[in-house]
């Protein structure tokens, strides 16, 4: 069976459209770049100051790194800029899709992914700007936390990164769309039944009338 993270990254990659400007967060979201379908050209934005991010390991230049500090390349047609321009692109609606990890997401589209009070406070980095500015916000995360507790909830209890900002959640169990009425389960992983998804989810789910198996992950 495919590893959960790969499965999630493959499915998220299918959300990208030809010509999209895309920002991928550190960790799992970065893996999405490995699975972009043939014929789909996207421009990856790196919030440390450029567009046209290449593959990790393509360059060894210490001044050409992605937002996680990993050396990477820049594709022909790319451009470098400063942090104000980088976030003008992000906040100004020039980024079509952002993919981020999550600690908690809830049925109102609230996202928490930057701190656990008293325990872990890495800081928000660019996440708060990305969720408010990108046209489409996708959360790519494993369905439950390491201790098995639910991460998709009726209401986040960790400090928020953004309020009502999430459009789509992709986990190894399924694809969930945030709609006015709540969370719509649109796709389910093969070999997983709806009861299992419900048991591992802390939010009420609306099951789509057109529920299908998760795309591109067979």
């Amino acid at each position: 069976m495919m590893k959960a993270k790969e499965q999630i990254a493959r499915r998220v990659a299918m959300e990208l459209k030809d010509g999209d400007v895309v920002n991928l967060g550190i960790g799992l979201p970065t893996m999405v770049a490995n699975y972009i379908p043939k014929g789909i050209d996207v421009m990856l934005e790196s919030e440390n100051g450029f567009i046209g991010l290449g593959a990790v390991g393509e360059s060894t230049d210490p001044n050409l790194v992605n937002a996680g500090g990993q050396p990477c390349g820049i594709i022909p047609g790319g451009a470098m800029f400063d942090s104000a321009m980088s976030f003008a692109l992000i906040r100004g609606g020039h980024v079509d899709v952002t993919v981020l990890g999550g600690l908690q997401v809830d049925q109102k589209g609230n996202l928490a992914n930057w701190m656990i009070p008293g325990k872990m406070v890495p800081g928000m980095g660019g996440a708060m700007d990305l969720v408010i500015g990108a046209k489409k916000v996708i959360v790519a995360m494993e369905h439950c936390s390491k201790d098995g507790s639910a991460k998709i909830l009726n209401c986040c209890n960790l400090p928020l990164t953004g309020k009502g900002v999430v459009d789509l959640i992709v986990t190894e169990l399924g694809v969930f769309r945030v709609i006015k009425e709540g969370l719509l389960l649109e796709e389910i992983a093969q070999g997983v039944n709806i009861e299992t998804v419900k048991n591992k989810t802390g939010a009420d789910l609306i099951i789509s009338k057109h529920l299908i198996y998760m795309k591109n992950v067979s």
């Binding site: 100051g49 001044n63 400063d82 942090s83 976030f87 980095g125």
Partner: protein, 219 residues
């Protein structure tokens, strides 16, 4: 035009206990390491540090945290330097976490004569606490105030002796913004050329903003 070149031994007079300093860089990329080392060696204390992140413990500004030289930190990310979080949780270090785009704009405002910026970033989160909310045409924004420093330390690939600067790839990040927002700006560059050798169209930071230059390679 005046030659702004200094050698690294001459920078000590610019560093004072209690200073507010901006340091360029993103995870240490684009950080003037020699200038940071000079602050470290001089044992400057009670620094207010404005920087994107606290890098790694042994890279960039990370050592200033490890050495406990910083009293207050304004940054967007501290997760790659465990010492920062440890000192923050123990209440030994005052940390103001600022969304990265907001940090960039606050510094830009500080150097541009603006009274602040209105941003939707952080609305509905703890970032909005104690900030003025302003509604413009039906959308709510936070008023984020300018940041200014006593001294800014920036890193560049190349400068001419008048201080005109060219940055290198992703090492640009916060450097051009900080070059506008401090009373004194010191640039650490890898290559220093004669005035006139940099084509005006290629200048990324004008020399009028740069007070002193330290050259660390080809001079």
């Amino acid at each position: 035009m005046k030659n702004k070149q200094l050698n690294i031994q001459q920078v000590s007079e610019y560093f004072k206990d209690g200073m507010t300093v901006m340091v360029g860089g993103f995870l240490g990329v684009g950080t003037p390491e020699r200038l940071v080392n000079a602050i470290s060696n001089q044992g400057i204390k009670n620094i207010t540090l404005i920087t994107n992140d606290t890098s790694l413990p042994d890279k960039g500004v990370g050592q200033l945290i490890v050495n406990r030289q910083v009293k207050k930190l304004v940054a967007s990310h501290i997760g790659t330097n465990p010492e920062t979080g440890k000192q923050m949780i123990a209440k030994e270090l005052d940390v103001e976490l600022v969304p990265q785009g907001t940090l960039a704009e606050r510094i830009r405002c500080g150097g541009s004569g603006l009274g602040g910026v209105l941003t939707p970033t952080g609305v509905g989160t703890i970032v909005e606490e104690n900030k003025q909310k302003i509604c413009v045409d039906g959308r709510v924004y936070l008023l984020e105030k300018p940041l200014h420093a006593d001294i800014a330390l920036i890193k560049a690939k190349k400068a001419d002796k008048a201080g005109n600067i060219i940055y290198d790839k992703a090492a640009r990040n916060f450097n051009p913004l900080m070059a506008m927002a401090a009373d004194v700006v010191i640039a650490e560059v890898n290559e220093l050329v004669e005035i006139g050798e940099i084509v005006p169209d290629e200048v990324m930071t004008t020399g009028v903003l740069v007070d002193k230059i330290i050259c660390v390679e080809a001079c």
